[in-house]
Symmetry: C2
Subunit: 413 residues, 2 copies
């Protein structure tokens, strides 16, 4: 199976990849070149439609205090449990664009409703790209009209391409999921190479299924799986203005996923594996990343466990060490201390790829060659034990190297 590449993601046995891709029954998608990405001939406007009027959906957005216009429009003018159409563009984030930006996002929503055959409050809009530049909504509308003429069940590849910015590779999958009540299809298209990228911001992810879900089920499953995937990654620790994840269920398979059923459990496992692999793909694509780290933190204080995991994942010193394949755990000790001020003396353990290197807060003799060998691989795992127990969390993170500097410093606007 080529999609579930990471040893950290368990592909459930009832999930099969559909190598040829495609959308679940009830969905159609397409894309167009609208000229929004300056100097690019590529696709930059995508349209996704779920035909059944009673499509069920759920959504999650960035927590940033600076919200892009499409996030505001979708959050406030949309029935988030009944999204039938997604209109997305790349090349311009439509963020920090004020009233005019809101007008353009609303214009996009209106145009997508018209060409997609939906009410305006059934249309979600999403943008990704440069912040602080006005979006030309007329170009987007024109692109949506063009895309609407090409809508098809295998339009997911074009749609995925239309939302890419600095992404080095496509992030999408189509899965067949065997549930006790029948087989359903689950597909997703994501983009992101940093929590925020150089000029082009954001992570977006659109998920489709032909299973029939109640709105509460869709919301519950999306909430839990986003917390375990896109909430647990860091490229540069920078929260975007545009992050959007939307799950849509057309119900066209006729297979109903009832609350608290075995179907729900199995569907949730499939969604979980799908979103976790996509999240990991974003980290792996993280602006020139050479290798990916996973930090697992355990301890008796839930807040402390989370803060330590994020501090390690966000530390430029830990990230550069990962890039350089340097098993310098002193930088991890420093991150722990920085995340938990005032707790000294703190007893903590650090384990790198199964080798305990620091016990009770100080270094112990280790087989350095073994650790050095382990940190040279593509995926490196760090485990931290803080005092107490009962809480555990993980964060996936990219390294920090020359390519990050090249992408972020040398390609000036």
């Amino acid at each position: 199976m080529s999609f579930f590449r990471s040893r950290w993601i368990d592909a459930p046995p009832h999930v099969r990849e559909v190598p040829e891709g495609g959308l679940p029954a009830g969905f159609r998608a397409a894309a167009a070149h609208a000229g929004i990405k300056e100097g690019s001939e590529g696709l930059d406007v995508g349209l996704l439609v779920s035909d059944p009027q009673d499509t069920v959906s759920a959504a999650r957005f960035t927590a940033s205090g600076v919200l892009a216009a499409p996030v505001l429009v979708t959050r406030e003018r949309c029935d988030l449990a009944n999204i039938r159409v997604v209109a997305a563009n790349s090349g311009n984030a439509n963020a920090a664009t004020g009233g005019p930006g809101m007008d353009e996002a609303a214009r996009t929503q209106g145009a997508a409703a018209m060409v997609g055959g939906a009410r305006e409050d059934q249309v979600a809009v999403a943008s990704t790209g440069v912040i602080g530049v006005q979006l030309d909504g007329k170009k987007v509308s024109k692109g949506l009209l063009e895309a609407s003429r090409a809508l098809r069940i295998d339009g997911d590849a074009d749609f995925a391409q239309a939302i890419m910015t600095t992404d080095a590779f496509e992030k999408r999958a189509t899965l067949a999921v065997d549930l006790p009540s029948g087989t359903v299809t689950l597909s997703a298209q994501a983009k992101g190479a940093g929590m925020i990228s150089p000029k082009f911001a954001t992570m977006l992810c659109f998920v489709q299924t032909d299973a029939a879900l109640a709105p509460e089920t869709a919301d519950l499953l999306l909430g839990v799986t986003v917390k375990r995937s896109f909430d647990r990654i860091s490229v540069d620790g920078q929260l975007s203005t545009n992050d959007t994840v939307i799950l849509m269920a057309s119900g066209a398979s006729g297979v109903r996923v009832a609350p608290e059923s075995e179907d729900e459990l199995r569907f949730g496992e499939a969604l979980d594996a799908l979103l976790r692999q996509l999240a990991l793909d974003i980290v792996r694509d993280g602006e020139g990343a050479r290798r990916v780290g996973r930090v697992v933190v355990r301890g008796g204080n839930g807040d402390g466990v989370d803060r330590v995991a994020r501090a390690i994942a966000d530390s430029p010193l830990v990230k550069t060490a990962l890039y350089g394949a340097d098993p310098n755990w002193g930088r991890i000790a420093q991150s722990i201390g920085g995340a938990l001020p005032g707790t000294a003396p703190l007893a903590f353990d650090i384990t790198i790829e199964g080798t305990l290197v620091c016990s009770g807060g100080f270094g112990i003799p280790v087989d350095l060659a073994k650790v050095e060998e382990a940190v040279r691989r593509d995926e490196v795992e760090f485990e931290i034990a803080l005092p107490g127990d009962g809480f555990e969390t993980e964060v996936f993170f990219s390294d920090l190297g020359h390519e990050y500097v090249v992408i972020n410093a040398e390609y000036t606007t």
Copy 2:
């Protein structure tokens, strides 16, 4: 005047640099090569002594939850208001070294007391260097003995060199300060090229004066000026395990700085300018920094103002843009949003070198050539206005470029 190089630091008119350097009356210092810095022939142990028994002092330490042994020993076994001797080493931070590390720090304290002619509780110890490796206290003791034989009033240059690690240049100054009651001398030696450096950690700063200060005055002045200097800088946002700042007043000039006097005001101004320039020197030396940024944030919420300033200063996206001389204020907008989740829609202004580029949360037309020219200079100023007023803060920060990656990733341990 060569020391006060930055336009952001106002050298008070009653302060003159003493170009030849040297320590204030009552102080002597020296350094030795003790072989702690592996593969280096340089000085790595420094000894500083204030001869008067009634020397007054004050100290500040890192807030990290992982404290180095010398920080714990100094904080807990020292009369912080009567420090007469400083024993410092570079090449090993003696952090995450457990009980054995505590023993070595105590051994250093004992040796320095003996050779410096002081009680053990009058000796501060400080270390900087690699974390998690045991320090050989015998080497340090031998170095202290050698240094004690060379103690002299112009030993500040050697002492400053002995505490350097990855520092690209020396950070020290000697100032003559004219107070209404007479002229006093103020000197300082600092090190630091990152809040924490690659293998060699920490910022240290030792300040001496021959003015006579009450312990309360020393503590008050050091507290205020550290908050305005070393607390307001970021190279990589990483809190060290070893940060130490110590102010010592020998009183040997006979000039007394009384509480709430004009003397205190003027002395405080001199100390403030001295520490701010040294803090700025640390940022300028920040692991290959090309240019230095200053962000000033104003608004009605003190906590929010501080969080926004630090978020901007710590953002790898803002830092790489500074490195690339890219006036991409969208990244600053993104940082503001990330620091203030849940506040959207947020009205904020961004001004770059006097040019308003974003007003009320969205971009306005600007003379881009003028802004592009401004961000190419050595020092770049960003002003952020958040809603409300009453609070203002600043943070100085370095950029993030290839040299940072080289220093932190390519020189592996």
